[in-house]
């Protein structure tokens, strides 16, 4: 029998890659190896409806348990990969199993950046949110009246803050940069979410550096800021970014540059080894790019599946993202990297607005808050490789719907 295609990493990318191989007619042996003990699941709800206990785990799985058997996918869960050997085309699982592969896909994802132990990062009561185990550990601690610190004012931290505040906790967000969302959004978007959280009673401290997390007997008691202020806390969520899981690839001698380097066909530097999702760095619009999103996990994985079966097309996505906080849905189309200008477009409903990012006069991204129409129009326009004049985007009276049809010329 032919050697299987082996997929290392059983997150949303790994599951999507397996599904696409089957959908495209690959009928050969197929193995999916994952470190976590559970079936592939959706991560975005972890910091939203899962940690708040509105959704149960069996609703997060991307495919029902029976599907893997039906699709003849050889699942190796709870299986860390100890070594990858491109020379003899094998992966060795911890525990001794060795899998030969005809082709290999790395969908190893990313892990949260943690605070170092020297400043209290390993105290009990300090959490990151990446896995279902993380969310399961946090959920019972979200109790009314308890004090939660959020270290880092990015989307994951803001989502956790919203859930905790909704549960009646006292929440303080500490952001070292001069404003929340500094790395990912323009000031008008940050202003919108700062106001939203303050309206809900969250304390947001910007330009505020942490000296250390304080503890007693190994357990978090609070934090000390650089200015000497002490804030007591029962719980801390650290949301300061993620790191690509590229160690296995690096140890195997593959080209790695803060992410597994792949080309437009999702090929790594080693023959017959592909990669997709959060773990990769790929060429996009002329620059090596990492995307941390479900959109990229799924789309790049599907692209990799097609490439493994011989398709010769470059991966060229229009990225999209979303976040849910309180009753606000944020939808992002495009990537604002390198924007030179942005305009705010007030929405048609109370509390709806969108921020349109331009590089010179070309639209590159939109953040839409409770404004699905702006998001939808921007997504369509970006996918068609077109733009919308800045002045029209800024004019809430201008009808942008004609841009939905490719025949529109402006």
């Amino acid at each position: 029998m032919a050697d299987p295609i082996v997929i290392v990493g059983a997150g949303q990318a790994g599951a999507a890659l397996a599904a696409k191989l089957r959908a495209l007619g690959y009928a050969g042996p197929l193995a999916l190896v994952g470190e976590e003990p559970v079936l592939p699941y959706q991560r975005p709800p972890l910091s939203k409806k899962y940690v708040s206990r509105e959704l149960e785990f069996d609703r997060l799985v991307v495919r029902p348990p029976a599907w893997y058997g039906e699709q003849r996918i050889d699942l190796h869960l709870n299986s860390a990969v100890a070594a990858l050997n491109p020379a003899d085309k094998t992966v060795a699982l911890r525990g001794g199993t060795v899998l030969r592969y005809a082709k290999l896909a790395l969908t190893t994802g990313a892990r949260p950046r943690r605070l170092p132990p020297e400043i209290g990062g390993d105290l009990a009561g300090v959490f990151t949110i990446r896995s279902v185990a993380d969310a399961d550990a946090i959920a019972p601690r979200l109790q009314p009246g308890k004090r939660m610190l959020v270290i880092g004012g990015g989307y994951i931290g803001l989502e956790a803050a919203a859930v905790a505040r909704t549960k009646g906790m006292e929440v303080t967000i500490i952001e070292v940069a001069e404003r929340i969302l500094q790395r990912v959004a323009a000031p008008p978007t940050a202003d919108y979410f700062r106001a939203l959280h303050r309206t809900h009673g969250v304390i947001i401290l910007e330009s505020t550096a942490l000296a250390r997390l304080a503890g007693e007997g190994g357990r978090l008691t609070g934090t000390e800021l650089k200015d000497g202020t002490h804030l007591p806390a029962d719980l801390a969520i650290v949301g300061i970014g993620i790191l690509p899981n590229d160690d296995l690839a690096r140890a195997a001698g593959l080209s790695v540059d803060s992410g597994i380097v792949v080309d437009g066909h999702c090929r790594t530097s080693a023959p017959d080894i592909y990669a997709a999702g959060d773990c990769t760095r790929f060429p996009w619009r002329g620059e090596p790019t990492r995307l941390e999103s479900v959109q990229n996990a799924i789309d790049q994985a599907e692209h990799a599946a097609a490439a493994m079966l011989g398709e010769q097309r470059d991966y060229n996505p229009v990225p999209w993202f979303w976040s849910d906080q309180y009753d606000v849905k944020l939808q992002i189309a495009g990537l604002n990297r390198g924007y030179t200008d942005c305009v705010l477009r007030p929405g048609k409903r109370e509390g709806s607005a969108s921020v349109w990012y331009y590089r010179d006069d070309t639209l590159i991204a939109v953040d839409a808050m409770n404004d699905a129409l702006s998001y939808g129009i921007a997504k369509k326009v970006l996918e068609a490789g077109r733009s919308i004049p800045k002045a029209m985007a800024a004019d809430s009276a201008a009808d942008l719907k004609p841009f939905l049809t490719s025949s529109a010329h402006h």
Binding site: V294, Q295, K329, Q331, I377, K379, K380, K401
Partner: protein, 105 residues
Amino acid sequence: MPKVTWILHDGRSISAEVAAGHNLMEAAVANNVPDVIGECGGCLSCATCHVYVDAAWYEKAGGPGDMEGEMLEITTAERRPMSRLSCQIKASEDLDGIVLHVPHI
């Protein structure tokens, strides 16, 4: 449990019992209904779970909400009067027997 039937573009149909409270996008994915993708997991950001509710069921299922109506502007298949995003329809005893037509994408 409420029964849901999806009629595919080629005339084939798939029926399943769906737990009340589950949305019909997740039910479609769980039952391998082709062309219902649900890439965003039901958060109104991808419009890939677009269906046409059967005329006999549309009124009972109700029309789209504001945000859903806006997302229906960017569906891959054409929007029709019975268009809904199936992630926004929850299975219930009231909708026991509902029929959804799945556009080809």
